[in-house]
């Protein structure tokens, strides 16, 4: 099939759900500008070492020269840009952000997200900022900058919820990751989650931590000037967590239109079935997958059937080419 250049561009851009897919040079430059608007350090690098700042990008050099002829103070004219964006991130990651601040005591640690590779990559590759923020906090935990186990547990939960609501958004835009083609040559009936549905296992006590922090944030919000007080209340002591891997509490995450994610406790077997059905999975494979985690394989199919009846899973048909179709009535 031949396409004219613009049709080809549509095709290329549709494939841009793959963040590595090529984008036009002028769009790449637009994204560079966004990074400059958020990050004064990147502005400095753009002016002082342009080649390094733009490494790996395909941009028109004459446009870059034009860009750098601007008064560099203009990039910081909106001084509340980062604060507004951070506010939105703090609303979605309110518990983990609070615990991160409780541990490090510096707002600048969260603000530094906008100078991190996570933020810059998200902008340049058209990814979600919220998921990049989660990755920034996860990295701080993995490299020892932050160590709180409470943060680890709540961040994992809030990240799972953030991924869940965005999977639904993407599906609504026609990019349902669960229905992407599978390996060809294995046709048949399978189950797959509804858009954004997921399961999550969390240490017992995590929900109590979430509730404790929500209560704390409500109370401190009554006096915004608390930030100036040496005797400002602290969120500690926090409820204890049971860190035993074998006694994790399983939850079902179901995203709703409007961004809410419903969280409900389910049996561990059901949660494992949901986890296995993130991509289309047939009866045998499902049995093998969950059997390894302790759920009898013969029960897995029954659980999948009941989850499909409850609207948690979808029945799908896979053809010889690996294309996935919703089964009749699914």
């Amino acid at each position: 099939m031949s396409r004219d250049p613009l049709e080809e561009a549509v095709f290329v851009d549709r494939a841009a759900a793959d963040p590595e897919a090529p984008v036009t040079p002028f769009v790449q430059l637009q994204r560079v500008v966004v990074r400059m608007l958020f990050d004064p350090a990147f502005v400095r690098q753009m002016y002082d070492d342009t080649a390094a700042a733009l490494s790996g990008l395909e941009v028109d050099s004459s446009l870059v020269e034009q860009l750098l002829r601007n008064d560099r103070r203009l990039w910081n004219a909106d001084r509340l840009r980062r604060t507004r964006s951070l506010k939105i991130l703090l609303e979605e990651f309110k518990v983990s952000s609070t615990l991160a601040l409780a541990e490090c005591g510096r707002l600048s640690f969260l603000d530094a997200f906008f100078g991190s590779r996570h933020f810059h990559e998200a902008v340049q590759k058209r990814r979600y900022m919220a998921l990049a923020y989660a990755a920034y906090l996860e990295e701080a935990l993995s490299n020892g900058t932050l160590r709180s186990l409470h943060l680890q547990a709540t961040l994992a939960l809030e990240s799972a919820m953030a991924r869940s609501r965005r999977a639904l958004r993407e599906a609504n835009r026609g990019r349902d990751a669960a229905l992407a083609p599978v390996t060809p040559g294995q046709p048949g009936k399978r189950w797959v989650v509804q858009p954004g549905v997921a399961s999550h296992f969390t240490p017992i006590g995590t929900i109590a931590v979430v509730q404790r922090i929500e209560k704390y944030l409500f109370e401190v919000a009554q006096v915004p000037a608390l930030a100036l007080c040496e005797d400002a209340p602290r969120p500690e002591p926090l409820p204890a967590l049971d860190l035993d891997e074998s006694s994790r509490q399983p939850f079902l995450l179901e995203p709703q239109p409007g961004g809410k994610v419903e969280l409900s406790e389910v049996g561990a077997g059901y949660a494992r079935v949901v986890a296995a059905c993130v991509r289309p999975v047939g009866r045998d494979e499902l049995g093998r997958t969950v059997a390894g985690a302790g759920t009898p394989s013969e029960e897995a199919a029954e659980m999948a059937e009941s989850l499909a009846e409850a609207g948690v899973l979808r029945a799908v048909d896979v053809d010889r080419d690996g294309k996935v179709f919703l089964a009749d009535g699914a």
């Binding site: 613009l6 561009a9 549509v10 851009d13 549709r14 841009a16 759900a17 984008v23 036009t24 002028f26 769009v27 430059l29 637009q30 994204r31 500008v33 966004v34 608007l37 446009l63 034009q66 860009l67 601007n70 008064d71 103070r73 203009l74 910081n76 004219a77 001084r79 840009r81 964006s85 939105i88 991130l89 979605e92 998200a122 902008v123 058209r126 990814r127 979600y128 900022m129 919220a130 965005r166 958004r169 993407e170 609504n172 835009r173 026609g174 961004g259």
Partner: protein
Amino acid sequence: MTWTREIEAKIQALPYLGVGISGEYGVRPSIDPTELEKEHPGLIHVVEFGTDTDRGLDASVLRWVDAGGKCTYHFLDVNFEELEDMDERWMADTASFAQRLGSPWLCGDSGMWHFGPRDRGHGLLLPPILTRESAEYTARSIAILQERTGLPVFPENPPSLYFLGDLHVLDYFAAVSESAGCGLLLDAAHLSIFQRAGGLDPCTALDGFPLDRIVEMHVAGGGDAVTPDGYRYIDDDHRAEVHPDTWKIVEYVIPRATQLRAVMYECEHNDPAATLDTFRRLNEMFPPPRSTK
């Protein structure tokens, strides 16, 4: 799709709406159009409602529309330079909001309304890169949107502190219009900012611009601002007082824009009393339609 006589005829058939007021989903306290019309009848004849598909419509605009008021839809969430943004769901949602408002067209600043995918916190507004290549992509997106929604789409020249590319902003949008086969929305305040940034006269390049394709105009207040480190710029803050450069553009364009259907005064966040003189002046320049509802 390119500009044709058929498109010209479609534009000619659009309703004449007169002078109106802008409105945006509850960001700040706003002038309620129904109240303004009640207290100062005859000043506004249409409301332009700006929103994104996540936030949707609000009570004040629905009250206006349900009482028979005219309304137009202004999008705030599409990057025309990125064809990936033209997803079916967004186009369907946008069309349904416009339909609910009875909007005869879609319009909005043409630029980068968000980084990343559409999501909360990703919003901003950058101007397009003013090159022929970018204009072609923008035109393609507009052509797709017109085709899928069945509504005319009028791209608007956006504000910015900087512009990149080798085209004058008016030449860019003239190229978009020609290639997409679309009418145009000229924002006089944004144009005055562009001209001043380039050290140009407010009316530079208007003589070569297809004024007969302007269907809607925006008029807004703005003023000098300075950052703590001394950077001076015109802030497009929609204050009530319209800059003299903007008035020059308005006075040049209105008598020459033969297909002009609506002039929106973007002033909704001001004290209504501070807006009355400008509404009166605009109504004199662009008289009301015979029937306002």
